[in-house]
């Protein structure tokens, strides 16, 4: 456990006892699970139970002592819980690998209503195995990071409780073997996201950001629910395996009005909400109001990828609805470019990263849209590594700058924060797609398949490359303004390197950002190096291949790769020149294209559009409805009913007079009557 060094809170002996005993409890939990596993063949169920219960235990532990200010204790327990989950994830992933298929368990029947039979069942297949590894692994690191980051906060216990609750819900979302369990997790992570964005709710802007996220997500959730209903209507089941099997049996449908296409589109609306795609992406940049580790965990690495995960999980269904896939691809590509362009003009370090996240998620959807689900998962994973890294790095920077987030007031932090800078550098290289860093492999696979796949189009490829160029530009700009060049740090702020509990996660994630991509070396290169495409082998059987994929020409693939890499490289060199060598240039360019710059800087006025054209008219219409329909018509009716009820009530209320012995008498008489009826 990393020490938080000088930020030592007073820890009373009771707290220490609490710490030790709770570790004991966790240990007992683990021991119990392992013992249970040893006892009977159902070790799987035990592993699942620990995997899910450990974060829940952490939530209860921290939630019950939410007033505590002992960040170290709360954080340690929470981190330990996350780590326990991570160990279970490894165990489950190994099982999946050994079994070459899904491993599942059922705890109990959740509900049985008519034809609907939903079990609290959980399953790990190759897709979710990767996902839980990422979520719990990155989650553990971020929990660890938070111990240092939240050490000065007033309510660290509450924070860690929420974080653990989030982890629990995320695992529900991932592991649920049917849409309803997933939906429970889906809503749960939404709730935790809301709670954590508005964690510093005394600031009304931050509280508003939380609400914005929640409401925007609700719109998506409505779509998601409609999707579930549609699927249940078509197939009579909500189980993933069954849905996918039926979809395979039926085969691809053409046209726009088909039920599967409809369902897919509805589900995709849900995905745009959760994964911040056009048109529902507006909440994510605002969500940066939350603590930075939260941004790293929820709004970069895990929750926002839920939409991608859901589509990948249902890949046979989506493949059976090619038109829906086209929509997914186009929305993804457009989002990638739009968000990247907004990222060019932001001054808030976290906002830049937020738009970058939206843009990268766009790439994942682009991959899904062209049928390259494996590539989407691949990019999801590498993105989790480098984006979590960059968010944590930005957290470290903000921590060092005493809460300052404006990159105009930074610069030259390379010296003060060597570890942060070094790891951030790795993240930067990964995201702009420099070989051999992680981002290169995953992004390249997406771009190549968007060009080559029969579901793809050269236009999509072009958008992708353009987006990559923008990405390289704004990320380089961020690096340059934050770490390089001369210092613009205001007087009185003395940046310092963060404690080990914060730098250790950075280093681990930095290492992963370098090597994370090597499990998916493209065939064009791998063939020469004799490195296989591990990930493709891993996903075999879980993810369907792209239908009608022709064998590729290696030369073409390498050529396209060269194009995208060199464009990205050029773009970053340009950014370097703009922001380090000739710092007067950006201003000139902005002045020259004033109108366009303002448009981009104000995020294309999307928020204003939403408010002006959708929210305000809706409020106005509601007001009119209230004034005319409600007051004059409905209210009168209800008042009449109410008067009637009141009349009856005034008679009946003598019965309910608060005399409990009379109530007891009624109970006795009721029981007597029941017995009489039974006896009769």
């Amino acid at each position: 456990m990393g020490s938080t060094g000088h930020h030592n809170h007073e820890s009373s002996p009771v707290d220490l006892i609490g710490a030790n005993l709770s570790f004991l409890g966790l240990a007992a939990l683990l021991l119990g699970g392992i013992g249970y596993g040893l006892r009977n063949a159902d070790a799987t169920a035990a592993t699942f139970a620990i995997l899910l219960l450990a974060p829940l235990f952490g939530f209860l532990f921290n939630g019950l002592r939410f007033r505590s200010k002992n960040a170290r204790l709360s954080g340690s327990v929470a981190t330990l819980a996350a780590f326990a989950s991570f160990l279970c994830s490894i165990s489950l992933a190994m099982k999946v690998g050994a079994a070459h298929g899904a491993v599942s368990t059922k705890f109990f029947d959740w509900m049985t209503i008519g034809d609907l039979n939903v079990a609290a069942g959980f399953t790990v297949d190759k897709i979710s195995a990767l996902m839980i590894l990422v979520v719990t692994g990155v989650g553990t690191l971020i929990h660890l990071f938070s111990i240092g980051y939240m050490s000065h906060d007033d309510r660290p216990s509450k924070y860690f409780a929420y974080l653990n609750l989030f982890l629990f819900n995320m695992l529900l979302l991932i592991l649920g073997d049917n849409l309803l369990v997933m939906f429970v997790g889906w809503e749960g992570v939404g709730l935790c996201s809301y709670l954590l964005i508005g964690f510093w709710f005394s600031d009304s802007e931050k509280a508003a950001a939380g609400m914005k996220a929640f409401i925007t997500n609700r719109i998506g959730d409505a779509g998601f629910l409609l999707g579930i209903f549609t699927l249940f209507f078509i197939f009579g089941t909500v189980n993933f395996a069954e849905i996918n099997q039926r979809a395979l049996d039926i085969g691809a449908e053409s046209g726009w009005g088909g039920p599967m296409t409809l369902a897919c589109l509805f589900l995709f609306i849900g995905a745009t909400g959760k994964s911040a795609q056009i048109p529902l992406y507006v909440w994510l940049p605002d969500a940066m109001a939350g603590p930075t580790p939260v941004s790293a965990l929820i709004h970069a690495a895990t929750m926002v990828t839920a939409g991608v995960y859901m589509i990948v999980r249902l890949n046979p269904l989506f493949l059976a609805a090619p038109n829906a896939l086209h929509v997914v691809a186009v929305v993804g590509a457009v989002t990638a470019v739009t968000a990247a362009s907004i990222g060019l003009t932001q001054w808030d370090i976290k906002k830049v990263l937020a738009y970058s996240t939206v843009s990268q998620l766009g790439y994942m959807f682009l991959a899904c849209g062209v049928g390259a689900f494996g590539a989407a998962m691949f990019h999801l994973m590498t993105h989790a590594f480098f984006k979590a890294l960059m968010f944590l790095g930005s957290g470290s920077v903000i921590h060092a700058m005493n809460g300052e987030q404006d990159i105009r007031k930074m610069g030259g932090l390379k010296k003060a924060l060597p570890i942060t800078h070094g790891t951030f550098l790795l993240g930067w290289l990964a995201i702009i797609g420099m070989p051999p860093f992680a981002g290169f492999f995953s992004k390249d696979e997406i771009l190549w398949l968007s060009f080559h796949s029969p579901l793809g189009h050269w236009g999509l490829w072009l958008l992708g490359v353009f987006g990559a160029a923008l990405t390289a530009f704004y990320m380089t700009r961020l690096m340059a303004l934050t770490f390089w060049g001369g210092s613009r740090v205001p007087n009185g702020v003395h940046p310092h390197e963060s404690p080990p509990s914060m730098t250790v996660p950075l280093i681990v994630l930095g290492a992963l950002s370098v090597v994370g991509g090597w499990i998916g070396v493209p065939h064009a290169i791998g063939h020469a190096l004799h490195v296989p495409h591990f990930l493709e082998h891993w996903f075999q059987g879980a993810i369907l291949g792209i239908p009608g994929l022709k064998p590729a020409s290696t030369a073409l693939e390498i050529a396209l790769m060269g194009v995208s890499v060199s464009i990205a490289g050029l773009s970053s060199v340009a950014a370097f020149v703009f922001y380090v060598r000739r710092t007067e240039l950006p201003g000139k360019v902005a002045a020259k294209f004033r109108g366009f710059y303002d448009l981009v800087h104000n995020k294309y006025f999307v928020d204003e559009f939403y408010f002006g054209k959708i929210i305000d008219p809706l409020v106005e219409a509601s007001r009119n409805l209230w004034a005319y329909v409600d007051v004059s018509f409905i209210d009168r009716g209800t008042y009449a009913v109410a008067d009637m009820v009141r009349g009856v009530g005034s008679v009946a209320k003598t019965v309910q007079n608060g005399n409990m012995q009379q109530y007891a008498l009624y109970v006795v008489l009721g029981v007597a009557a029941t017995i009489f009826l039974i006896l009769r």
């Binding site: 007079n657 608060g658 005399n659 409990m660 012995q661 007891a664 008498l665 006795v668």
Partner: protein
Amino acid sequence: MPNTIDTILKVSLNHYLVLSAVLFTLGVLGVLLRKNVIVILMSIELMLNAVNVTFIAFSRYSGNIDGQVMVFFVMTIAAAEAAVGLALAVLIFRRFKEINIRYFEHLRG
């Protein structure tokens, strides 16, 4: 026929059930008639005990241990109920200096 009387007096499941029913009714009467909250709580304990007798009797006569487990749970709940009930009674007493069930009417919203 002394034999018949012996058959009737020979203890069987029904004897336990009757004992339990009478005990339960006593508890009911206590709840209905007494004013003191503490005595009412005691009457509730009486009823729970009566139910426990039934559980154990059925468990014994059907050779099924589940009844005893249930009694275990009932006792736990009863103790929990007594703890909270008495805490409430203490509050009432502090407020009114007397523990009359009628004071709970003041709880009306």
